[in-house]
Amino acid sequence: MSLKDVLSPFTAWKYVFRDPVTIENPLRDRPGAARYRGFHKNDPELCIGCGTCETICQNGAIDMVPAPGRDPRQGDSALRPRIDYGRCCWCALCVDVCMTKSLSMSNEYIWVDRDPDAFRFTPGIDSKRWDSAELGYHRPEHHRLVPEHRPHMGELEPEERIGSFAEIVDGYTVEQARAEADRCVSCGLCIATCPAHMDIPNYIAAIRDGDYRHGLELLYRTNPFSEICGRVCTHKCETVCAAGHTGEPVAIRWLKRHIVDQVPYEQYRDVLAPPAPATGRTVAVVGAGPAGLTAAFDLARLGHAVTVYEALDKPGGMTRWGIPEYRLPYDIIDRDVDVIRSMGVDLRCGQRIGGDVTLGQLRDGHDAVVLALGLQMGRATRIPGSDHPDVRKAVDLLRQATAGEDFGTPQQAVVIGGGNVAMDIARTLARLQKQAFGTVRVTVTALEDFAHFLADPDEIKESFEEGVVILDARGPQAVVIEDGEVAGLKTWKVKSIFDEQGRFAPSYDETDEMIHPGSMVVEAIGQMTDTALLGEDLTEKLAWNRGRLQVDAKGRTSEPWLWAAGDMVRGPDVVSAVADGHRVAAGIHAALTGKEDQA
């Protein structure tokens, strides 16, 4: 203790001469920092209602509620997060995990209200004064709580695959599949979008858990063609995947394939309950494609006697006769079909209805008849010269290729079309050319420009890798014929294909003309159904809807005994055909058991 200890405390008096440091009311003049985690903001247009914010909130402060004036659509549940500030702890994990970056926080932190319920509101829907605040917490670009990239899947190198029809992709390894399955946030937007409403989040969870048997069980609940869909599904689910908004969508299709790859084929039957006892009712199905066989599968499991008539000598429909082997090996189709057959389905291939057996006979011999004919006829451009025998249709050539027939592989070929069928025939021709001549000389001309291309990006990429030349925005004008032989295709540049409203309205630049040399021109544009088997009387009797057989919600035509499903009523798509097969089977079952109202 010293004199200093007595005097020193008096130095505190200097504070008398200091200005106060406190901030006066109102505090509004003191904005929160740029990163401040204040009241939430949400961009309702960007938000897809995936509910991941609700999932991560450990306080249960977020509820997904219907947003007024919004209807659910593909990829948007129309739900929006409502936040209860009696629970919120301002941790911003909801912002960090938001799959679209729609959710953020303002730097506003002062809010006084006498009504406690006011502190529970839906940001972006209930307008608040901080909605336009620029400052506040937004997820930094690098900060990810959900991985954004797919693991790399092994596949054949272009030079390897072009020499044969071997399947290109390897499928995921267990490790890769688990990493990919890990990226799913289980929002379920995919379920609503999948035509067959497959239980995608749960079968992905089964992969994470390594429970493949359960995964296969889930697949079979909604789809007897998981082997096929695991390879060639149009995966609409992936286009709405929440992960796709700020990263790559989850590879749902490859994950489905991974499940079927992992379960030994002998065990497939074990996950399926045996068919119900026989009902004594019989159903005939015309067409052994995905729609017809799905209907057959369901009906057989319900105890009905099902006979499937297939015109060609092997089942599978367009999946076999349209899709090349390098995308979908034929034994894969057999695996799916054999499980269906094992349910007691009587599958008769090589039996074309309209020949020895007529539709009338089927009607007389069965309680119901399902038409699942598919889209097996190619459309023609009808440009000058297109009636030449060496102007072929892609679907015909693909069918011949599957059958192993020699259709005279051209040394150089031109394909008209920009969809997946065009890519299929181009790459098939490329392989045949490689085998026959050692070089690939295929040119694809598409009306659409690359920004509006119909084919999958993967198909385009792989076609390029295999040496196929793809020219976009080329409108076919005439097939060039020299000395009676096809010499090539004349095209004009398409200046624009769609108008401002997005409607097809091609305008050509006639000065930009090209001749694409080739001794064969292949038309790979639209497809249609051959409905000749109906005959004129039945055609006249049936109700039609813009060129397609008119069916009700259950798939029944205007003739009570006749049902229709698949591409011929829905347009070309494997998984839509599967969904339609289920639909028509449920309708028939209800009709046959007198429970129509409940169907």
Binding site: R35, Y36, T52, C91, H143
Partner: protein, 392 residues
């Protein structure tokens, strides 16, 4: 300085089991509750004092008023969902919870936070230490009737909270250090504003030294008061400034270095007298060490580079079976997280070692006997106790 020796003649007789016999009906003893609502208690705990005259003859510490069951809550939360919870286990210095939890998860999950994140974590922990001491100094002075110190240090702490706000987005519960790294880098111009803040805090600390430490009243009340004997350090698990003021130089930053401390230049502060005054002085000097560390970190940390390690999808993050104990030197001593995982998406057990647990219960009960009622608050504050970390 001689140790204070109370008059033991008034003490009650000991029963055979060692407990004391109080005959309250005699009028000689009085039960006096200090807390749970009392200006002389830190946080929500309570002291059940038995007094004889002005002197404490027996004390029981009571905790539980603040029990929110965090450890149990965490067993029902995914690993990422525990992240917003942990900071609440210690309100005035929450960052150690964030760091220890994140580090424990990272160890068991086999990931490593990037270099830049490790520097930012160290920065945040030192910023938090300064703040914690500022709060303590106000409390220590206030408990002895000197309210002005708290006004000054609260101002300094507020400036540091401004820095926390611009760096982390929040003033109190920063929620910035999460498994995998940190949320973001330093905002533009942060270093300059931090230097201004550090200078203002240094100015405040000079005033605090003049008015609080060179103060006859403060010294009279604190010198020789509340001795922690060196042999108690190991017996009671005393750590941090409480141990260092007794001459036992324990500092996790040096003893089991973590984050970037091995690359920083500092010496732990210690004392010899182990009384209230020495403990306060150790903390005062420790503020300057932390200020220096903040400067070192800002000068030497990498300016760019990743801030987060690649983490799996946090929504279904499962961590292999394992257990680990992660410790750090917080302003009150050793802070630790013991984390047990069982391969599921939830922690099997989280146990938090808050240094207040060892300091504020058994040790306080022992130290308080023989103390004048008026000195209880000062003594208790000198142990730098934060009850929320006792009640996890």
């Amino acid at each position: 300085m001689a140790l204070y020796t109370p008059d033991r003649s008034q003490y009650p007789a000991a029963l055979p089991d060692g407990s004391l016999e109080f005959d309250l009906a005699s009028g000689k003893y009085l039960k006096l509750w200090q807390g749970p609502q009392h200006p002389g208690i830190t946080g929500n705990m309570s002291l059940e004092l038995t007094v004889c005259g002005d002197e404490i003859v027996h004390a029981r510490t009571h905790v539980g008023y603040l029990h929110r069951g965090f450890e149990k809550l965490m067993e029902r939360r995914t690993f990422i969902q525990c992240f917003p919870i942990v900071c609440r286990i210690c309100v005035p210095e929450p960052d150690f919870n964030e760091y220890c939890y994140a580090q424990a998860v990272e160890e068991l999950a086999g990931i490593e936070a990037p270099e830049r994140a490790r520097w930012i974590r160290t920065l945040i922990l030192e910023m938090g230490r300064i703040n914690s001491y500022m709060m303590y100094l106000g409390g220590q002075a206030g408990s002895l009737g000197q309210a002005v110190i708290g006004q000054w240090t609260t101002y300094g702490r507020d400036l540091m909270l401004d820095r926390f706000e611009e760096l982390t987005g929040a003033r109190i519960y920063h929620m910035f250090i999460l498994p995998g790294g940190v949320r973001d880098g330093l905002p533009d111009g942060f270093e300059t504003r931090m230097e201004e803040t550090l200078r203002e805090i240094e100015r405040i600390m000079a005033d605090v030294e003049d008015v609080m430490f060179h103060n006859a009243v403060f010294k009279t009340r604190t010198v020789g008061q509340g001795i922690i004997r060196p042999e108690w350090i190991e017996d009671y698990g005393v750590t941090g400034p409480n141990a260092r003021a007794a001459g036992v130089v324990k500092d996790v930053r040096k003893d089991q270095p973590y984050l970037v401390y091995p690359e920083l230049d500092f010496e732990p502060v210690s004392g010899t007298d182990s009384d209230v005054f020495t403990r306060a002085d150790v903390r005062r000097r420790d503020v300057h060490v932390s200020i220096d560390l903040v400067r070192q970190i800002l000068a030497r940390m990498p300016k760019d580079g990743p801030l987060m390690a690649k983490v799996p999808n946090v929504l279904h993050w499962k961590i292999p079976k394992g257990e680990t104990y992660v410790r750090g030197e917080c302003s009150r001593g050793e802070y630790g997280y013991y984390l047990v995982t069982d391969g599921s998406g939830y922690p099997r057990r989280v146990n938090v070692r808050g240094p207040s647990y060892t300091h504020a219960m058994a040790l306080l009960e022992k130290m308080i006997v023989g103390v004048n009622i008026a000195d209880v608050a000062g003594l208790m504050v000198s142990l730098h106790t934060y009850p929320p970390e006792i009640e996890r």
